[in-house]
C-alpha cells in the first residue's frame, strides 16, 4: 500500500477531478471511482490510506460503502463529503468510524490538511474521531489580504462599483452598436462583464489619444510648465490580456526615463479585471500566455454563477473589498466552478499559434527577407487601424498648439503609429520606412521580437483587435507568425514588472537656454551658441544630441556641435529644413529657446583614446563631428595621430571655413578636404569624399575611423575603408533618424529593435551589420 494513497468516490466528474487535481498537486497517489460498486471493486483489489466518500451515490450509497469497507479494510480512514447533510447520515457515518464529515462545496486547503493529519495517524493507534460537525457557510473574512482569492456576491460587486462611482471617475465596458467599448459608467447596471473584447483597449486611459505634456507662455513672460493629470479613475472589466499589455506599458514608461504623465495616470488608476469567459473569435490569448493573469490588477473577478471569485492583486484592491463588499473564503465547490469556467472559456478559442511564442524572435530574425511581407501588403491601406487599436502600441507624436494671441500654448502628444506613411520621415525629407512592406514587417517585428527583446515581455497579447479592425484582412500577427512558421518548416505548438518608479517630472520639459551668439555659416546653415539660464552646463559627450524647442512651433533633435571641453555654453549648428529649424534661424541674440538633453550615447571616447583617429565628415555631418574634433584637439595627448577628411558639395557649401583654415595649418591634425563640384574660386581637391581616403596612409592596427554624413555617403565611404582593411568594430558612424521624444518612447527613431535616441545615434559598423535597416 502506498502510504499516501487516496480513493475519491463521487458521481460528479467535476468534484472527482478537481479534488483529484488538488491532491495530485499536493503529492498524493490518487484513484477515483464514480459509484459505490466501482469503489468496492477497487478496494477489494487494492489498499488505500484514505477514502473521500460522497454519501449520495447511484446504486450503493456512501453509507453502504462505508459499512462494507469497515468489514473488509477497517484501517482505511474515510472522510465523508456531501452537499446534503442530515443528522441521520451524520450519526450513521460517525458510528461507522468516519473521520470527518464535510459539507460541499469544499475548501481545498481544509480537505488537504485533514488528509495530511489523517495520514499522519495511519498505522498508529486508532484515531479518536473528532467531533463530527455540520459546517455552516464560511463566514465573511475579517482581514482581506493581497494574493488571496475570495468570493463576493453580485451585490457585493454592485456595492463596490456604486461606491466607486460616488468617489471617482469610473469607466467600464458597455455595449454599443453590438460591440463593446469602454465608457464612463454611472451605475452598476450599465456594466457588461461578459464581453468578448472591446473595440479600443483600456490602455487609452493610461496613454490617451491626445494629452497635454506642457503648457507654455512665450514672449516677455516666457514660461514652461509640465502638465500631468492626476484624476482618480477606476477601470472595470479589463481582460487578462489587456492587463498584460498594461504591464508592458508599465515597463516601457516607468522603468527607464520615468514618464511623468503616464505615471500620474497609472498611479491613480484602479484596475478591476475580469476573466474573459467569452473570447473573441479573433483572439489567440492562450498562445501568447495572456489568457489568465496573476499580476497587474487591483482586483480580478471570475464570474462563477451567482457570485464572483475575486483575486486580490494589491493593497488598493484589498482596501476596496474590505470597505465595500462582504468577502468570504471560497468553498471547494466555488474553486471548482472557477476552474470549470476558465476551462470552458479556454475551449472556446479557435485560433492558436503553430509555433511556441518563445520561438518568435528567432523565427522573425530568419524571416526578414521572406516574400511574405511583400505578398501581404498589396491590400494595405496604411490606415494604421491595426496599431491604433493595439493595447501594446504606445508610439506617439508631439505637436505645439498656440492661442490666437500667439502668447501661450500647449505641447501635446497624440497617438502615432509605424504603419503610417510619414512615421519614420525626417525633416530633410528622407523616409526610413517608405514602403508598405517594410512598415508591415516592422510592426510584426515589434510584436514578435523587438518588444520581447527590449522589455522581456510579450509584444502581442493575442487580443485579436487588429485582426478585427483591419479591413484589408492582413493585420493579424497570428496569421503572419503562422505563415512564417509554415514556410520555415516549423510545426510546433515564457516577467519583469516595472517598479513604481519616481516620475521624472521634467522628462518632457525643456530648460530655458539663452542664445548668446549666432553666426551664419552659409545661407542655409547657422551656428547658435546657447547658455542655460540656470548657468548649468549641458554636460554632453561629443556625438550626443539635444531636443531643441521653440515653444509654439515645436521641438527637434539637433546634434551638438561643440565639445564639452568648452565651458559654460554649447553650440548647435543647424540647417534650415523644417518648422523648428526655420524658427531658430529667425532668432536673434538674447532669444530664449527650450533645450532637453543631452541624449544618446555619443562617440565612444574610451575606445578612441590612445588610437589614431580618422575623422570623416560629409556636408553637415561636420556638425556632430566638430564636437569630436574639438575634443581631440583639446585632449591632444590622449590620442594618436588625428586625420580629418571633409567633403562639401561646392565651395559655397563649406562649413566653419575659419576653423577649416585653422585645421589645415595646425600641426595637431592632418586635414584634407574636397568639394564635389569646384568653381573659379576653388583651388583645392575636386571629387567626392571617397577620393580622399586612398590618399591617407593609416596604421590599420591602431586606427579608429569615425564617419558622419548623409545616408548615401556611408555606403561609399565604408567601401573605401574596407579596402584599407579597417575592421567593422573600428568603424564608427552616427545616424540620423526622427528622434522625436529623445527618451526611448515615441518610436519614431527605431531601427529594427534599436532606439537610436537611446542606443545611438553612434554605432560601430559591426553593430550596424546586425541592423539591416540602418544604412
Amino acid at each position: 500500500m502506498q502510504e499516501n494513497s487516496v480513493l475519491i468516490v463521487d458521481d460528479e466528474p467535476i468534484v472527482r477531478e478537481s479534488i483529484s487535481d488538488w491532491l495530485k498537486d499536493a503529492g498524493y497517489q490518487v484513484a477515483t471511482a464514480e459509484s459505490g460498486e466501482e469503489a468496492l471493486e477497487m478496494i477489494e483489489k487494492q489498499d488505500f490510506s484514505v477514502m473521500v466518500l460522497d454519501i449520495r451515490l447511484p446504486g450503493q450509497t456512501g453509507i453502504a460503502v462505508l459499512k462494507e469497507v469497515k468489514t473488509q479494510r477497517p484501517w482505511i480512514k474515510s472522510i465523508i463529503i456531501t452537499a446534503y447533510p442530515s443528522a441521520e447520515t451524520t450519526a450513521e457515518a460517525k458510528k461507522l468510524g468516519a473521520i470527518d464529515y464535510l459539507i460541499k462545496p469544499l475548501a481545498p486547503d481544509h480537505l488537504e490538511r485533514l488528509i495530511r493529519e489523517t495520514l499522519g495517524s495511519v498505522g498508529k493507534a486508532p484515531t479518536v474521531t473528532t467531533a463530527v460537525e455540520i459546517r455552516p457557510e464560511p463566514p465573511a473574512v475579517e482581514v482581506v489580504e493581497v494574493k488571496k482569492s475570495l468570493v463576493i456576491s453580485k451585490d457585493g460587486l454592485k456595492s463596490i462599483v456604486e461606491s466607486l462611482v460616488k468617489e471617482t471617475e469610473v469607466v467600464g465596458v458597455k455595449s454599443r452598436h453590438g460591440k463593446y467599448v469602454y465608457d464612463r459608467v454611472a451605475s452598476f447596471e450599465e456594466l457588461r462583464l461578459d464581453h468578448d473584447v472591446t473595440v479600443m483597449p483600456p490602455t487609452q486611459y493610461l496613454l490617451p489619444a491626445k494629452e497635454t505634456l506642457l503648457k507654455f507662455k512665450v514672449g516677455d513672460e516666457a514660461q514652461v510648465e509640465p502638465v500631468t493629470e492626476a484624476a482618480q479613475r477606476a477601470i472595470i472589466g479589463v481582460h487578462p490580456y489587456d492587463v498584460k499589455a498594461i504591464e508592458l506599458l508599465d515597463e516601457a514608461f516607468m522603468a527607464t526615463n520615468p514618464d511623468p504623465n503616464y505615471i500620474a495616470r497609472r498611479q491613480n488608476t484602479i484596475i478591476i479585471a475580469v476573466d474573459c469567459l467569452n473570447p473573441s473569435p479573433k483572439s489567440f490569448a492562450p498562445s501568447m500566455g495572456t489568457r489568465l493573469t496573476e499580476t497587474g490588477f487591483d482586483l480580478l473577478l471570475t464570474d462563477i454563477g451567482n457570485d464572483y471569485m475575486v483575486a486580490v492583486g494589491s493593497e488598493k484592491g484589498a482596501e476596496l473589498l474590505a470597505k465595500y463588499a462582504q468577502a468570504r473564503e471560497p468553498t471547494g465547490d466555488e474553486i471548482v466552478r472557477q476552474k470549470a469556467a476558465r476551462d470552458e472559456a479556454l475551449a472556446k478559442y479557435k485560433l492558436s499559434l503553430n509555433v511556441a511564442k518563445e520561438r518568435l524572435p528567432k523565427l522573425l530574425e530568419e524571416s526578414y527577407d521572406d516574400p511574405y511581407w511583400e505578398s501581404r501588403t498589396e491590400a494595405c491601406l496604411s490606415c494604421a487601424s491595426c496599431v491604433m487599436v493595439c493595447p501594446t502600441c504606445f508610439c506617439f507624436d508631439v505637436h505645439d498648439e498656440v492661442s490666437l494671441s500667439l502668447k501661450e500654448g500647449e505641447r501635446s502628444r497624440q497617438w502615432d503609429g509605424c504603419m503610417l506613411v510619414d512615421f519614420a520621415k525626417v525633416a530633410t525629407g528622407e523616409n526610413f520606412r517608405h514602403d508598405k512592406a517594410s512598415r508591415f514587417r516592422h510592426r510584426m517585428f515589434r510584436k514578435g521580437k523587438y518588444i520581447v527583446e527590449r522589455y522581456g515581455m510579450v509584444g502581442c497579447v493575442g487580443c485579436g483587435r487588429c485582426a478585427t479592425a483591419c479591413l484589408a484582412d492582413i493585420a493579424s500577427p497570428l496569421e503572419a507568425f503562422n505563415a512564417l512558421a509554415e514556410s520555415a518548416g516549423l510545426k510546433e505548438a515564457a516577467a519583469r514588472i516595472a517598479m513604481a518608479a519616481e516620475p521624472d517630472t521634467g522628462l518632457y520639459a525643456p530648460r530655458p537656454a539663452e542664445l548668446v551668439k549666432v553666426d551664419e555659416l552659409t545661407p542655409r546653415e547657422k551656428v547658435f551658441e546657447f547658455r542655460f539660464k540656470d548657468g548649468k552646463a549641458l554636460g554632453q559627450r561629443p556625438g550626443q544630441f539635444a531636443e531643441v524647442s521653440v515653444m509654439g512651433i515645436g521641438e527637434s533633435p539637433i546634434s551638438i556641435s561643440s565639445s564639452p571641453t568648452k565651458d559654460g555654453t554649447f553650440q548647435l549648428a543647424i540647417r534650415n529644413v523644417g518648422n523648428v529649424t526655420n524658427a531658430l534661424h529667425g532668432l536673434e541674440k538674447g532669444a530664449i529657446v527650450g533645450v532637453r538633453g543631452p541624449f544618446g550615447n555619443g562617440f565612444p571616447l574610451e575606445a578612441l583614446e590612445g588610437k589614431d583617429v580618422l575623422l570623416i565628415a560629409g556636408g553637415i555631418g561636420l556638425f556632430p563631428l566638430r564636437s569630436l574634433v574639438q575634443y581631440v584637439l583639446d585632449r591632444r595627448s590622449s590620442f594618436g595621430r588625428a586625420v580629418l577628411l571633409f567633403g562639401a558639395r561646392s565651395p559655397a557649401e563649406r562649413l566653419f571655413v575659419d576653423e577649416l583654415a585653422a585645421w589645415s595649418k595646425s600641426p595637431e591634425i592632418e586635414f584634407h578636404e574636397t568639394v564635389d563640384r569646384g568653381d573659379e574660386s576653388w583651388h583645392g581637391n575636386v571629387g567626392v569624399i571617397t577620393t580622399l581616403i586612398p590618399k591617407v596612409d593609416i596604421d590599420v592596427g591602431k586606427t579608429m575611423a569615425v564617419v558622419v554624413g548623409p545616408p548615401i555617403m556611408y555606403r561609399f565611404v565604408i567601401g573605401e575603408l574596407k579596402k584599407k582593411d579597417i575592421p567593422d568594430e573600428n568603424i564608427i558612424m552616427s545616424l540620423e533618424r526622427r528622434m522625436k521624444c529623445g527618451v526611448g518612447k515615441c518610436g519614431h527613431c527605431q531601427i529594427n529593435g534599436v532606439y537610436v535616441c537611446q542606443e545611438g545615434p553612434v554605432f560601430t559598423l559591426a553593430q550596424l551589420r546586425n541592423l539591416r535597416e540602418a544604412v
Partner: protein
Amino acid sequence: MKPKIAFFDFTGCEGCQLDALNLTGEELLDLLNAVDIVNFREVMTERDDDYDIAFVEGSITRESEIARLQKIRDQAKVVVALGACACIGGINCLKNHVPMEEALRTVYGKDAKYYDTIPARPANAVVTVDYYVRGCPPTPTELLKVVKALLLNKAPDIPGYPVCVECKMAGNVCVFERGMTCLGPVTRAGCNAICVTSGRFCWGCRGLIDDPNTDSEKDILQKYGLTVDQVIDKFKIYNTYAEVAK
C-alpha cells in the same frame, strides 16, 4: 503689422465662408486682433484689394473664374483653398461626368444659351495653392489652425493620414462593423471623424490622402456588399476630380 486677409468665393454654396467664421465671440475678437479682414463679401461691404492672404472658396467652373483666380494669386502672398470645392473640386465635379451642353440644358433648360460652363476643377488646377482648409464644410478650428500657422510662419499640422486614425482615437465602432460602408480609409483626416462619430460614415469630403490605396478600398467596398457602380458612385461624390471614380 497685422496680415491682411481676404475671402473670395467661386462656384459653391458659400457655406464654407459662413461656417469658417462660425466662431465664438471671443475667438472672433482674437482673430480680429491678429489679422485685418479686408475683403469678405459674406459679412462686410467694404473691399480692399491690398491683401496678404487670400482664402478662396468654391471650384472653378467658368472661364471667367480662371482669370479672376489668377489675379488673386498675383496679389496674395499666400493662397489658401477653403472647403472641398476649392481643395478637391468637390460635388461640382459631378457634372464632369456628362457633356457640358447637357449639364447646361439640365440646369437652365431653354435659357442654357445665356450661360457658359467648363468642367469643374479645384483651385490648384488653375494656380499654385499654398495651404488647404479641407472639408464640406471645413471646421472653424482648422481655419484658425491655418491662420495661426501662417502667423507663426510654420507649416500647419494638417494630418496626412486617413480618417481611420481619428476614428479610432474617437473610440468609434468601425462603420463596416455597423453594416455600412465608408471612405475613411483613403480620406485625409483632420475632421476628428465627425461624421462617423455622429453615427454616419465618411463621404470623402476632405479628399484623398497622398498615395491612397484606392484599389484596396474598392475591393473592400465590394467585399462589404457594394456593386461596382455603387463603389464608383461613392468615390464620385467628392472625388470625381481625383479620377478615382473609375
